[in-house]
């Protein structure tokens, strides 16, 4: 089989169970998955330009550094990397554009919406 370069996704969430779920699901779909527990770890990860992901999926509420602050830095330093905000807060869905994220997905046990958004953003 032709070896295809795998797309890289960075998942940021403080819940270990969710990290594991996302990792397994996205790896199953053929992505290379990296994990971060908060915004700071995301920014550390991004310091190496060679290892830049093709997509970041990030929770909003995280310890040390939250998703919104992190998003602001990412959009300033690495505007080319698409970011999906994936949060339990459904009420901010209508406001997500003001925070300049590329997508806003409310967390759900059905990962279809997230996966489709990821596919959409990576295709671009």
């Amino acid at each position: 089989m032709e070896r295809k370069i795998m797309n890289r996704i960075l998942i940021a969430d403080d819940e270990e169970a969710l990290q594991k779920l996302y990792k397994e699901e996205f790896e199953e779909d053929g992505y290379e998955v990296f994990l971060a527990g908060n915004g700071k770890e995301v920014l550390t990860f991004l310091e190496d330009p060679a290892g830049h992901p093709d997509l970041i999926v990030m929770d909003i509420r995280m310890p040390e550094m939250d998703g919104i602050s992190t998003l602001r830095v990412i959009k300033e330093k690495y505007p080319q990397i698409p970011v999906i905000l994936c949060s339990a807060y459904s009420e901010f869905k209508q406001d997500f554009s003001t925070w300049a994220s590329d997508e806003y997905v409310v967390k759900s046990s059905d990962l279809t919406e997230l996966k489709e958004a990821a596919k959409r953003l990576i295709k671009k």
Binding site: A17, L21, I60, P63, A88, S90, E91, S109, D110
Partner: protein, 819 residues
Amino acid sequence: MTQGFELLKKTIRVANSGIGYEDRLQGILDLLIRLEGIELAVLFFLSPEQDTLEIKKVSPRSMSWDAQKLPLSRSSFKDLIQNRQSLLITPANRREHKALFRNPLLKGFNFLLSLPVEDDNILYGFLGLCSRQSINPSTRVLEELALINCELAGIIRNSRIYTESKKRIAELSVLYQVGKVIGSTLELDDLIQKTGAIIAQVINATGSALLIMDTHTQEMIVESEFGRVPATAKAIMRQDIMGQKKNYIRNRAIPEPAGTAGPWEERKVLSREKSLPQSYSSHMGVSLQFKGPYRGRLCVFEKIAVNGEADSNFGEDDLSILSTIGNIIASALENALTFQKMEALARKNEEMVENLSTLHQIDIALMTTASIQELPHIILDAITLEEGLGFNRAVLFLADEENKTLAPLAWAIQEKRPAKLTDPKIPSLSGPELSRFLVEQAGRLKNTPDGKNAKFKELRIPLTPDSGILARSFLEGQSFIIENALTDPRTNKELVNLLNMKSFAAIPVVGKDKVIGVIEVDNFIDKHPITQGDLHLLSMMAHQAGQALENARLYDFIEKTNQELKVTRERLIESEKMVAIGEMASGLAHEIRNPLVSIGGFVRRLNKRFQEDSQVQTYFQVIISEVERLEKILNEIMEFYQDPRGKYKEWDLNRIIDEALGLMQKEIEKNKITVHKDWAPLPAIFGDDSQLRHVFYNLFQNSCQAMSDGGKLSLRTFLDQGPASPWVVCEIKDTGGGIPLELLHNIFNPFFTTKTLGSGLGLSIVHKIITRHQGEVDIDNRPGEGVSFFIKLPLADETRPIKKNKTDGEENHEPDLNR
């Protein structure tokens, strides 16, 4: 010897006999003409001034004579008076004394022997012995005549002393009588009556008059007459007072007998004034001297002739008595005047104390209530109660500022309370009972309008100067008394007819410094006129009433505002609760959703792994669908607490800030924070007022917490044109020391979980609400000094069109434009 001795003996006998003084003089003259060769004996009296001679007695009595006076200046007796010597006039020296012989009595007598009638002190006159033949008295005869003259002088002297004593006694008795009368009373009117009578009586005058002027006011405070007083008297006395004339006598001139000539015609009236017109009554006037500011005049008129006195003129003696009486009655009158003044003052004082005590009681009654319903009744009852001000009727008109009219609010009519009048057990309302009664009465319902009342109740008096005296009273802030309501052109005829008024008063009711109404007061039952004193009292009462009414109005206003505030506060608490529930639900949702996603996610993975086992598959399907159901419920809860855009309306931001500030009033006062507001007129914004109010409430709360030891809160609104589109901006600036730098970047962050900022939730809500309203929150932090929040909101006109493009998921919430 014997003839001379006989004569002397008889003379002494006559001189000491009991017959009258005049008869004794006559008797001695009658004895003298028995002397040989003496045909006529004449007794001349020297006037007290020693300037005229007057024939007093003549013998024989058959000779006729008249009582003309002879000025001494023209007579040859001048030397006699100086020398007090006897003189013998003979034809040889008669020419030197021809003036004397012009008197018809002495016509034809060639010889006249004149002898001085004197004692060791006073020369009383001369004795003249006349003869047609020669007189040649021997020394002896002359000595005898000298002795006889001594007797004559003795008679005259005794008589004069007697008369003088009698006069003195009479004077004393007059003064005693006057003194008795004066002492008998302190009442001015009584005193004046009595003195008028006694003065006329003791002076023997037909009338007397008394005038006293107050020198301050130039007004006559006493004008009294007794008996017959000429009509012109008062005018003349007034002039005398003004001119401060001295005491004087004016006697009417007595017509001269016709055909007389010579020195005797110079017989004159006693007056030193010129003769007066015949119509003018003879009178005397004396000035009355007072210590106080008065000047007076006492006059008596027309002397009554007594005991056949030759004329009825006033004499110097009369004037001196009158003057003495004047002095006595002046001090008595002054005492009476002072007494009268003091009495009047005491009466006035008593009345004032009574009025003040009544007003005080009314004031107490007014203080008991701040009810705008009860107060008018207390006011009107106080005016109409017998124990209050006691007027028959009072109506309170209040101004309707909007319609510019006066409208009757309430009225009261004096009620006779027969129970009280007949039953002595029910005491009259004095002191505190008055205020208590007024308060009790106020609670009762009165004045249910019947036919005429109903019409009266609808009466509206326009507030223009030509709508009658009540409107004028209101506009000018003046009290008025109308004597006759029917004829006075200043009254409002409609009102006059409705109330059937005759005489009434209109008093403005002043609250704070503005006229708020007018009270009409009248005595339509007992018809007592309303006096200036009444008006004064009513004005004081109206002033109290005005204050009380104004307070009641204020209280009413505060009560209503408080009520509104309470409702707003409740509503706010309600919305705050909603926000809190929303926050909780949102937090809960987040907490639940994560594990739920894990569960759901892993079950789905399990489901993929065990696709062959249909038994396990059904179990997984159940878990998956149940998790989906839970997620759906969570979504619904979240949506329910989302921004209710359907409630958005146009609002004035200044008003919303003011309302939020009102809710903080207590905390602001408690922390001694001064608030400075600078409102600019702003265009409307579009949003939910309760949420926006919450924004400012939270910000003010923040400031208050920061300034717990006092400070200054400056609020400013303005329109900022902005780089792209204009903002309505409110700056909230405090002096609370600012925000520590390490906290600053996280104050709006609701997701910041290191939990350093315990109260940060308030500011995160602020941020969330303003963001929802498409606004912005800026901070100007000045550490150590204070912080300024800038709340920026787009104008309503800017928001609505944008909103149409952003209605994803909320199509059902059309903004309510028909507000």
